[in-house]
Assembly symmetry: none
DNA sequence: GGCGGTCTGACGGTTTGCTGACAATCTCCG
DNA sequence: CGGAGATTGTCAGCAAACCGTCAGACCGCC
């Protein structure tokens, strides 16, 4: 089983990450400061590390450098605060493999984690390339390349639209509330409460439904949310 | 056993919540002000907290913040008064996981509690996805998708109709009084005294019974209420 | 500076829910 | 058996809730 180490001092965030990663089938360990994080990383040799740069005690940069100096080469994904452009660069120079800017959508992070692991894993002969494409109606969603085909034709979706579609797809057949969608697509702290979700759903319908006014797959469940049907 | 802490100063409401939650099999503790609530939450570490925002002494916001600052990450469901839109947002920003607007139907609250616990629960591989479908006659009720099938065909129900049906289903075989239904579906401050329930029952019969005038499943119990039979 | 992507608030259409009057039915009892 | 009273069923109209839509603002990026 793939093991992931999360080095994050904010309990809420750590909790949310653990949950979502575990749902995806990873084995998760959390360290809430830099020192512990480094110890666990050296000791436990996880397959991937999610590392907040802003940490009490030993900060993320030092953890990362120490880790690389100790010869550990597992992929590291760093979490940076918005606008800390310099931090990203510095992190990447120190040997991070990717970064995500807070606040981030869970799906974005999951996608990047998956990408890093796929890149790191030696492609097994006969192994497939990540999760299989999902289909509904005449639409095919290929997570690995963030591509959507409709009747074999590529449909350009914006990032938000794609994430929203995946979020609905992950719980296909079940009602997904607007709040859930906000959490999963927009970020761990839902702060958008207006017609945002509806607008994006409308756009998805326009691009993926034959008759957007009478959708057959992306359905409205009044008073509850939305539901995706094959 | 799953333990839930209810922080609510209104005794009637607290009592009602305790009752209903206990019927669902939860172990319930009640705190009637913010200070006690915080203490019990930190001390007892319940699996979930239902938190009224409007509290004497230390209000819900402060409880929530203090709780999160103390590193407690259990899901919190907040109760807000209708129209206090800003409160919802503020609550969510402070780390609440969901909210319910007063007055609320007990069933709605129970559904949300269940959803939060399911999300927090360790994802058993091969675990199912929520409660199984219920059947009576040729009718199948699927809570997860808020869908009703009749003879395999989807029957569109309005939100109230669906909730009402679930309420009857929960006590299948037993008489459910109009007052119970009002409490569970409409809200604890049941102020609808006219033919509301009957109207909705009639609509359910029209949609789900072969002969709505001689119902075989959604039965009237004169002077008492209604009863649902397989 | 233009452009695509995103978010928001206002607006309007449609659905849904509620109500109260009236009709139908049941129960009890003379 | 018949009738009064109590209880439930039905209906249509109104009001509110809810969602889809859109234009405009904003913002980061080329």
């Amino acid at each position: 089983m793939t093991r992931i180490l999360v080095v994050e001092d904010n309990p809420d965030l750590a909790y949310g990450l653990r949950n979502n990663l575990e749902i995806e089938g990873y084995q998760v360990e959390v360290a809430d400061d830099g020192t512990k994080g480094l110890a666990r990383a050296r000791d436990g040799r996880p397959d991937l590390i999610i590392l907040d740069l802003m940490l009490p005690g030993m900060d993320g940069f030092r953890v990362l450098r120490a880790l690389r100096e100790a010869g550990r080469t597992m992929p590291v994904l760093i979490l940076t605060a918005r606008g800390e452009e310099a931090d990203k660069v510095r992190g990447l120079r120190l040997g991070a493999d990717d970064y995500v800017t807070k606040p981030f959508g869970v799906l974005e992070l999951l996608a990047r984690v998956e990408a890093l692991l796929r890149r790191a894993a030696p492609p097994l002969p006969g192994g497939n390339g990540g999760p299989p494409p999902e289909r509904f109606g005449d639409v095919e969603v290929i997570p690995a390349s963030r591509t959507v085909l409709r009747g074999g034709q590529s449909v350009p979706l914006t990032p938000k639209e794609f994430d929203l579609l995946v979020a609905l797809l992950r719980r296909r057949g079940a009602v997904v509330t607007r709040l859930d969608l906000l959490r999963e697509v927009w970020g761990y702290s839902a702060e958008v409460l207006s017609r945002t979700v509806d607008t994006h759903v409308a756009e998805l319908r326009r691009k993926l439904e034959n008759d957007p006014a009478a959708p057959r797959h992306i359905l409205t469940v009044r008073k509850s949310g939305y539901r995706l049907e094959r």
